[in-house]
Structure formats: C-alpha cells, structure tokens
C-alpha cells in the first residue's frame, strides 16, 4: 500500500484549492505562456501528422489498396489532359506551318511579282514569302503530277505565278490567319488567295470538345476520390468507435478527435497523387517509342511531353485537398453519431 500513500502525498496542494480559484490560476498560467501553448499546439499537429503516417504504414496493404484507387482515379483525367496538351502542341506545329498560296493574275510579270513579294515581306504578320515563277511552277507540276507530256502539248503555260506566304508563328487563333488571307485576296495583283483553313478549325473545335470532356471526367473522378476517401474514413471511424467514446469521456473536443482522421485523409490523397504520378510516368514511357515512330513517319521530331511542374503541383495539391475534404465530410457526418452511452 506504499504506492497509495506516496501518490496521495504527491498530489499537490492544487487539490485543496477550490475550483473557481483553480480556474483563475490556470488561466493566468496560460496567459503567461501563450507562446508555449502555441508551441504545444503546433507540436500536436506535427505529432498527429506523423502519427497518422505511421498508422498508415503499419497497414501497408490496405493503405495501398485505397491509395491505388485514388491514384488511378487521379491519373485518368491528368493523363488525358496531358495527351490533350501534346495534341495541341502538334496542332500548334501544323498551324504555324500553314502557308497561304497567292495565285497571281496572268497579267503580272515576274518583275512585278517579285516587287509584290518584297512588299509583302515587310508586313508584320508575315514571316516569309517565297516566289514561285510560272516556269518553275510548271516544271514542278510536270515533274510531280505525271501530266508532263500533256502539258508539253499546250501552247501557253496555264499556271499562274504563286507567292507562298508563311504567316508569323504567333497567329494562334485561326481567325487571324483567315483575316490575313481575306486582306491579301483583295489586292489587285492577286487572283486567288487560298488557305486550307477548315481542317485546322475543325481540329480546334474537336480539341475544345476534348477539353470539355476532360473537365467533366475530372469532376466525376474528383467526386469518386471524395467518396473513396469518405468511405475509408467512415470505416476507420467505426473501427475506432470505442476509442472515440473513451476520449470523449476524458474530455476530448471534436476537433481533437477529428484531427487524426483529417490527416489520414490528407495522406491518402497525397499518396494517391504520388501513385497517379507514377502511373503517368509509366504510361508516358510506354507511349514514347510508338509516338517517336509515328513522328518519324511524318518527318517530325515531335516528342511526348512528360509531366511538367504545373501538372505535378496540381496533381499532388488536388489529391491531398480531395483526401482532406473527403475525410472532413465523413468525419462531420459520423462523429456526431458517436456519443458515450
């Protein structure tokens, strides 16, 4: 019984002080060391931060299952977005390679045509102008078309002189190029100004549909992530029912009980984001070679763009946010139901 006596002896004089005085004393003590209190508060967050990570790592398989589901859900929209970006890159390349053909009227002789060419070169929207004379046009045509002999039978050269115009690269919207074509077409020297713009416009329209589709898919999969995390946390809360009841009886506030669950959700989201990142890199590695082959067929040096910093930040940030938020919803719904009885 010695331990009882020593215990009682050590319970300090605090016990004798009546409750109101005790409260007063405690508050001044807290007032003096706000810094200490804040340190403890931060320390508690840091502790929970690592405690929850430790808990997750003690159950690696179930943690992996949950985070893998989140990872796949996150990697789908991110991957599609990446493909879309690459597609735009390709399109951009084609767009800037678009050339405008100015077919000059028959009246224009070669000197006038060259004068026009040098005039056009000075326009700010135009990157370069190539002059193809009637003769060289005919030579090229007979060489490539296979109509060489038929052309030889003609008395005149029926082909017009052509100015091949390359617009400046910064023409991002197809509309601007169209305006330029229209302006050039109105010149008296020009018979026809031609640009095969329609396919570019269609491709842009398709791209816009793709973008919208990715956006919708992202929204749906974000909800899926919320549900996955929410459900996992709901189960965790049920598993820890006894613990929650006990800590509530000891005087734990809701925020104290909520904290580990919120951090767990955060970890799920962050780890899910990392898995998504791995999946993306893996897929890109697998796709790189066939893409290179296709690019080679088009005489292009195009390469798949990998995960850039922006995607990385968005993926990890959004992942951890969704994890935290999903957990927050679940905890808010289920914690109130658990009360000591």
């Amino acid at each position: 019984m010695q331990w009882i006596e020593s215990m009682v002896r050590d319970l300090d004089k605090d016990m004798m002080i009546n409750p109101s005085e005790r409260g007063g004393r405690r508050s001044t003590r807290r007032g003096i060391s706000i810094k200490g209190w804040l340190n403890n508060y931060l320390l508690r967050h840091v502790q929970t931060f690592f405690y929850t990570l430790g808990q997750l790592s003690s159950r690696p398989f179930s943690t992996f299952m949950t985070t893998a589901v989140i990872g796949i859900a996150l990697s789908l929209p991110a991957g599609l977005n990446l493909l879309l970006k690459n597609g735009q890159e390709v399109l951009q390349g084609w767009n800037s390679a678009t050339q405008i053909s100015l077919f000059l009227t028959q009246k224009i002789n070669s000197k006038e045509a060259q004068g026009l060419a040098s005039k056009l070169r000075k326009m700010p929207e135009i990157a370069s102008v190539e002059y193809i004379s009637k003769e060289s046009a005919l030579a090229e045509f007979s060489q490539h078309s296979g109509f060489g002999e038929a052309l030889d039978a003609l008395e005149h050269n029926p082909l017009p002189a052509v100015l091949l115009i390359t617009p400046k690269n910064n023409q991002e919207q197809p509309g601007k190029i169209a305006a330029l074509v229209e302006r050039l077409g109105k010149r008296s020297e020009v018979d026809i100004a031609q640009l095969d713009m329609e396919w570019v416009e269609r491709l842009f329209a398709l791209m816009a549909i793709g973008e919208r589709g990715v956006l919708i898919l992202s929204g749906l999969l974000a909800i899926a992530v919320l549900l996955v995390v929410g459900n996992t946390i709901r189960l965790a809360i049920q598993n820890r029912r006894d613990e929650i009841v006990i800590t509530k009886l000891i005087g734990a506030t809701d925020s104290f009980i909520r904290r580990p669950f919120l951090y767990t959700g955060f970890w799920y989201g962050l780890l899910g984001g990392l898995i998504a990142l791995l999946l993306l890199e893996l897929s890109l590695t697998l796709l790189a070679e066939p893409v290179r082959d296709v690019a080679a067929l088009y005489h292009s040096s195009f390469q798949l763009q990998g995960v850039d910093l922006q995607t990385l930040v968005i993926l990890l940030g959004l992942g951890s946010f969704l994890g935290y938020f999903g957990s927050w919803i679940a905890v808010g719904r289920h914690l109130r139901e658990i009360e000591p009885c």
Partner: protein, 229 residues
C-alpha cells in the same frame, strides 16, 4: 460539488430511470451510490458526467448548472472530473504510458510535463515498469490501476467510479477502494457506484441508495442496516 434538484430522467422508450431525485454531495465528500441493478445508479452517474441530460429538474456540478453547458462545452466540463469504469476502457492499441497520458494530451500539456506526470503516476500505482507494455498483457487489477492513473493524472476535483471493483477479487477491491479514500483525503470529491456492501460498511462512508429510480436513503450505512433489520 454535486447537487440534484427534483431530477427525473425518462428515456425515449418511456422508462423512467430516475424520479424526482434531490440530493447534495458537498465538496470534499465521498459517497457510495448503491442499489440493485436497474435502480438508476448508471443513469445518475451519466447525468453527472453529462452523458445524459435530465428530463426534469436541475443538476449543478461544481457550481455549474449543467443545463447551461452546451454541446461544445461538454469536453471542457469533463476535464474537471476523472471517470473510472468497471471495464477499465483502456485503449488496447496503445501502451500503458500513452493511455495514462491521454487526458494530458487532450488538455494540451507539453511533452516534457506529460512524461514527468505520467511516470510519476505510474510509479505511484506501481506500474512504472509496465509503461511500455500494452494493457492486454496486464491483469484485471493492473488494468484498473492504469484506469485510475488515467482518471487522476490531470488532478480532477471530482472522481466518478462506476463499479470500479466489479471484476476484482476482495483483496484487490479493498486496495482500490482505499486508494479512492486516500484521494478523498486530499480534497477530491468522490462518488462510487458499487453494490459491494461489505466493503462499503468497512469504509464507513455515507451511501446514496436508489430503489427503482427513487432516492431510498442518503446517509450512513448503519441506518440502512437498521431499516433492513
């Protein structure tokens, strides 16, 4: 410390667990709450710990009218008391040290202070050598001592114990009860629900006897003995 005024508690199934109970337990007192199972002991304890709220009447603990304590205030209210359970209610996935430290962690004490207080408390209940073990490996009496260390570590002004010796043999029960008596001696108000009449008689503390939800007796135990003949 504890004052009940015309307190009734009727559960949603219509069962009236407590009927018009009025009683007063002054600061620094120690009393036993007795009665057959179903007499309302648990309900009375739950009203004190704000686990349940009365249907009628007023409960004042520590000068605080409990009807004024809102949901958000309950945790802070409970930090002023220590509760000991028959089934110990320890966290089995945490060490003895972590179990005892819980009230201090919840109240936001510093790490050094927690370590010092927990070791002191464990030393005093004779379990310092077990600080790193998990409660499942301890005997019933040892588990109850961990529960007691946890209930008193934050120096509460009120100790509630619900059948604390229910599962213990007589010697261990006596040891535990004497521990409560010692706490009472340094000024802690103690209310113990128990039907171990032999032990209660030994301790010569007043009893609060409930019968079917009514207060049957409040005072020395001899009076009950006399009534029961």
């Amino acid at each position: 410390m504890i004052r009940f005024t015309e307190v009734s508690k009727r559960y949603s199934n219509g069962h009236e667990a407590l009927s018009r109970i009025s009683l007063h337990l002054p600061v620094g007192d120690m009393a036993f709450l007795t009665g057959h199972s179903g007499a309302g002991k648990s309900t009375l304890m739950k009203l004190v710990a704000l686990i349940e709220r009365p249907t009628n009447g007023q409960v004042v603990i520590n000068g605080q009218n409990l009807s004024k304590v809102k949901r958000g205030g309950i945790p802070h209210f409970r930090r002023n008391m220590g509760i000991i359970f028959q089934d110990h209610r320890l966290l089995f996935d945490r060490t003895v040290f972590d179990n005892v430290a819980l009230p201090l962690i919840i109240a936001g004490h510093g790490r050094k202070e927690i370590g010092r207080l927990v070791r002191a408390a464990l030393d005093k209940v004779g379990l310092l050598s077990k600080e790193k073990v998990y409660p499942i490996t301890l005997s019933g009496g040892e588990q109850q001592r961990v529960g007691i260390a946890r209930a008193v570590i934050h120096k509460p002004s009120l100790l509630l114990a619900d059948e604390p010796t229910g599962n213990l043999d007589p010697d261990l029960s006596r040891e535990i009860m004497h521990l409560f008596e010692e706490f009472n001696r340094v000024g802690v108000t103690v209310l113990i629900a128990s039907h171990d009449l032999d032990l209660i008689r030994e301790l010569e503390k007043p009893i609060i006897k409930l019968e079917q939800g009514y207060l049957a007796h409040h005072g020395a135990i001899d009076a009950v003995d006399r009534v029961n003949g």
